[in-house]
Symmetry: C2
C-alpha cells in the first residue's frame, strides 16, 4: 500500500496550503474526495441517548416532537459538537420524518420503534402515495426541517460542516410497507418477488420524494447529505442491484444535477458483503463517498472499492463500551486500515453510537482521530 | 470462468462411474470436495415449523423434549427427507443442546427463544464451566444424541447422508454469556474487549467440549458434521479472527485427527463480508467446505475463496415465500453462480427455512436442484 500512499501525497494539490490549521471544512473536503491534512471524524447517531444532555430532552419530549421542533432539533444536533468537537454537525432527524408529508403517518412507540398503521401494501395505497409525492412541498409540509437547518448553519458557519440526513429510497419504502421494525422484511420482499411492478412504482415515487427532500435540505443550509440505506442487511446482492441501488443512484443524479458541488455519502448498513456492487455508485454525477459498516476490514474495502474511492467508517460501535485506551487503539487501527491519516477517509463508526456508550469514550474516539489522524507530508 | 470449469471436468477422477445413477452419497461426496454428477441439495432448518407434520409435534411437546427424546428427534429429522427427497438428513437438535451437560441449564420460551439463568460472566463461573468440560461425557450426559443418530443411521444407511450438528465455539459461548437472544451481544463483546483472557479461557474450554461432542456424533453414525457459527453477524473481522476462527479451527483439527474421512462444514451466518478470513479454514486437516450466507453472490464468493473450495448455499430464504416458479429460477441462478452443476457445490439456503414457507416451495427448491443441477459431461 505504501507506494500508492506516496502517489496520493503527490496528488494533494486540491488541499489549500492553510489546510493543516484550518479544520472547519475538513469533513466537507474529505467527503469531496480530497486528501486532507487530518482524517476528519464524526459519529452516526452522535446526537443520541448516550448523552446526559440529550436524555434531558428525550425524557421530557416525545420522539417526533424532538425532531420536528426547530429549537429542540437544533439544540440536540449541536450538543455533541460542543461537547466533543466532532468535525461535522448532522441535523437531528429520522429516516421516517418525510413520510407524513407523503400521506404515511407514523408514531414512535418508546422501546418498540416506529409504528405505521396505514401501510403501503396495496396498489390503491401506492397510487395514493404517488399522488402525494407529486404534491410534496417540503417548505410547506415540513417547515421545521428548513428552519432547523438554517438555524444550524448560522451556528456552524465557518466553524464546522453541516450534514443533511435522508433515508435511502428502498429503506424508506420498506418501512412504509412493513409498518415498523421487521425481522425479515417479508412484506416488502414479498412485494418485490411477487409483484415487482408495484415495488418498482413505489420505489420510483419514493426516489422522487427523497431527491427533492435532499435538495430542500441543501437549499436550506446542508453542505453535504448522507443517504441512509439502513436496512441493506435485508437485501441479497441481487435484490440490492434491482431494488435499492438504481433508486439511490436516481436520487444522487437528481441532486447532482442541481447541486453539483454538494457531496453525497451513501451508507448501506449490512451492505459490506456486496461492496463490488457499490463501487460504481461513486462517480462524478453520483455519490462522492461510501460509508462502510463494521462487518468488513477497511483495507479489504479499499481493495474492492479502489484506492481512490473516499470512504467513511467503520469502527464497531460496541468497542466504545470498552476502555478509552481500547477506543484509542481501535481508531489508530482503523485509520491504518484506511491507508493512513487523511487518505480520503472520514473516521466514523460502522453504525450508530449505542446508547450504553460512556461519553468519555466518545471523547476518546474523537481525540484519537485528532491524534492519530494527522497526515505527515 | 469457463476454462476453469473445463479444468474441473478433467479432474473428476474421484467420482465413480456409477455416480450418475447412485445418488445416496451425493451430499457426502460434494462435502468432501468431489465434483459430482448432480448438485446435492438440503436445507438448513429443514426439520421445522413450516411443515404441517412437524407442527403436529411442536404443538404437543415442548422444545427440549422434542430434541432430547430419540423417538421424536428421529421422526422430526426424517419428515422432510420422506416428503421432499433432500440429499441429506440432519439430526434434529439445537446449538444449545450440549450446554446443560456443561453445567449451563437453559429453557426455550415459546416466541422468545432460549433463556439461560446462570450465565457465564464471572471468573468463578467460567472456572466451574472448565471443570464441567473436563468431566463432559456425552454418552452418559446426552444419551439421546447417540440414540437418535444410531436410529437415523439405520433408517438412512445406503440411502442418504446423515449430518451431525454442533454449535461453533464462539456462538455457543456467546449464548452462554448473553443468556439468550441478543441484539448487540454486548456482554460477550464486553468480555472480549475488557477481559480477553477470560474470554479466551471460556472459548478454549468450549472448543474442547464441542470437539468431543462432534466426535461423539460421528462415532454414533453422523457421516459429516456442520458447525454453526450462527452469530457471526455480531463479529467484526478482527473479532472473528481473534475469538471465533481459531476455536472453530481447533475443533476441526481435533475431529480430523480422529476421523480424517468425515467432512466438516463451517457456516458463519453473517460472515460473508470477511470470506477472505474463512478461505484458509478449508484445508486437509481442517474444514472440507464452507456454507455461505445469502448476503453475497456465490460467484463473488468463488472468486474470493478460490475455485477449488467446496461451497454450500446460498439462496435467500425469503425467496421461498414467492411462487414455485420464482424458486425454480432462484435455484437455477444459484447453481450458475456456483459455476454450474456439480461444481463442488451443495445447494442450500443462506440461512434456515422460514416458518412461513409453503411446503410446495420447499418441494420446488429440491426439485429444481434435481432438474438444473445435473452435470453435463
Amino acid at each position: 500500500m505504501r507506494p500508492l500512499q506516496g502517489a496520493l501525497v503527490e496528488g494533494t494539490a486540491t488541499v489549500a496550503p492553510a489546510a493543516a490549521t484550518d479544520e472547519s471544512d475538513l469533513l466537507l473536503r474529505a467527503a469531496r474526495g480530497d486528501v486532507t491534512a487530518r482524517t476528519p471524524v464524526w459519529l452516526m447517531r452522535q446526537a443520541g441517548r448516550y448523552m446526559k444532555a440529550f436524555r434531558a430532552y428525550s425524557e421530557k419530549y416525545p420522539f417526533r416532537m424532538r425532531s420536528e421542533t426547530p429549537e429542540i432539533a437544533t439544540e440536540l444536533s449541536l450538543q455533541c459538537w460542543r461537547a466533543f468537537g466532532v468535525d461535522g454537525v448532522i441535523m437531528f432527524s429520522d429516516i421516517l420524518t418525510i413520510l407524513p408529508a407523503l400521506g404515511v403517518e407514523f408514531d414512535v412507540v418508546p422501546g418498540k420503534g416506529p409504528a405505521i398503521c396505514d401501510t403501503l401494501r396495496s396498489e390503491s395505497r401506492v397510487a395514493e402515495y404517488e399522488l402525494a409525492v407529486d404534491r410534496f412541498a417540503p417548505s410547506d409540509q415540513l417547515p421545521f426541517v428548513g428552519e432547523t437547518l438554517r438555524a444550524l448553519r448560522q451556528e456552524t458557519e465557518g466553524k464546522t460542516t453541516l450534514v443533511g440526513f435522508v433515508g435511502a429510497p428502498w429503506t424508506l419504502a420498506a418501512y412504509a410497507v412493513e409498518g415498523g421494525a421487521s425481522r425479515h422484511a417479508l412484506e416488502i420482499k414479498g412485494m418485490m418477488h411477487s409483484n415487482p411492478t408495484l415495488a418498482h412504482d413505489l420505489l420510483a415515487a419514493t426516489s422522487d420524494a427523497v431527491a427533492r427532500y435532499a435538495c430542500h435540505q441543501i437549499e436550506n443550509g446542508a453542505q453535504m447529505v448522507q443517504l441512509f440505506e439502513s436496512w441493506a442487511h435485508h437485501l441479497s446482492p441481487a435484490d440490492f442491484s434491482e431494488f435499492a441501488k438504481p433508486y439511490a443512484q436516481r436520487v444522487a443524479r437528481y441532486v447532482n444535477d442541481r447541486h453539483p458541488d454538494v457531496p453525497l455519502i451513501f451508507f448501506a448498513n449490512g451492505g459490506s458483503s456486496y461492496l463490488e456492487l457499490q463501487r460504481e455508485m461513486v462517480a462524478p454525477d453520483a455519490f462522492s463517498a461510501l460509508s462502510i459498516d463494521w462487518a468488513v476490514d477497511l483495507a479489504t474495502a479499499r481493495t474492492v472499492l479502489g484506492e481512490g474511492t473516499p470512504i467513511q467508517g467503520n469502527v464497531d460501535p460496541s468497542l466504545l463500551l470498552a476502555s478509552p485506551d481500547a477506543v484509542d487503539a481501535a481508531v489508530e487501527r482503523c485509520i491504518a486500515q484506511a491507508g493512513g491519516p487523511g487518505n480520503r477517509h472520514i473516521l466514523n463508526l460502522g453504525h450508530g453510537v449505542l446508547q450504553q456508550t460512556p461519553e468519555a469514550n466518545v471523547a476518546a474516539f474523537v481525540n484519537a482521530a485528532k491524534n492519530h489522524g494527522i497526515r505527515r507530508s
